[in-house]
Symmetry: C2
Subunit: 184 residues, 2 copies
Amino acid sequence: MELMDAIRGRRSIRKYTDDMPSDDDIGYILEAARQAPSWANTQCWEFVLVTDAETKEKLATTLPETNPAHKAVTMAPVVIVVCAKKGISGHFKGKAVTDKGDWLLFDVALALQNLTLAAYERGLGTVHTGFFDSRKAEEIINVPDGVTVVELLPLGYPEKEGRVTPRKEIQEFVFYNTYGRKEK
Amino acid sequence: MELMDAIRGRRSIRKYTDDMPSDDDIGYILEAARQAPSWANTQCWEFVLVTDAETKEKLATTLPETNPAHKAVTMAPVVIVVCAKKGISGHFKGKAVTDKGDWLLFDVALALQNLTLAAYERGLGTVHTGFFDSRKAEEIINVPDGVTVVELLPLGYPEKEGRVTPRKEIQEFVFYNTYGRKEK
């Protein structure tokens, strides 16, 4: 698939069929994540692939009922629990070196953008689910100290096509040479 | 370009030629960024495209001499100063709703992964530069309250091919059903 077709075509998918993605497809999307750049190439991301129904049920309880992805976590054949090692990205000799603190959200997202594009190429849907009780999720999958759960990412074949959501026009978020200047 | 060829081929580029990317190429990579998903579709990213030599010189002073991207900021024909509106991503009704606080790093990175892949497709190099004095950069480009500078992203034609950096093997960062379990 052409890069821009993947970038333009990917949608957030919240309803899935029961069909399990093949090992080959899962390997492909993990390879895409693996290739992402990261802070000083530290690769702080870790993924727990949950297929066990009971664990998925428990993970679903970490989401507020109001989260539109609530059902997706039990419905999807795979839930990727996206973890990250803390205190590495954005750090030098154990200390955060910028005003942003830990850059783990940044590096994890670079990897996840690759992963979700590769999933789309293979006909698989995903949805970023960040609004949940991560502490509770960390207990459910036994995450050790020093590691945090960033998000839950359901993965599976879409039950139907995803909805197109609007985007800002380029001129709404791009400036030239100084903040706010619209002229080149 | 095939999606996986872009994902596998992209490198961090720190030396650039003087050639200015075309408006068409810049429009293409901004379109790629624009298509990224974000927290409740809030699209908190903003980009200031700096081509003015004096401003680039000033921005270079915000990097420590030890940052290997130091020279890239003056050498590249364009420096994208990547900004984000604070207090939107990861928030609901003005309050952070997760233990991660502001998710702006996450959403900005989703957009930047699209952007850097699209740049690579057009023959352009980039390098994430997060280790610098963002407060000083915010003054240089007159960023208002409520907006932060996340990173500097030099953009231009590579002077030479980028170096391949090693990646962890998949089995080093993937577990099954519970943290640490290597068997499916």
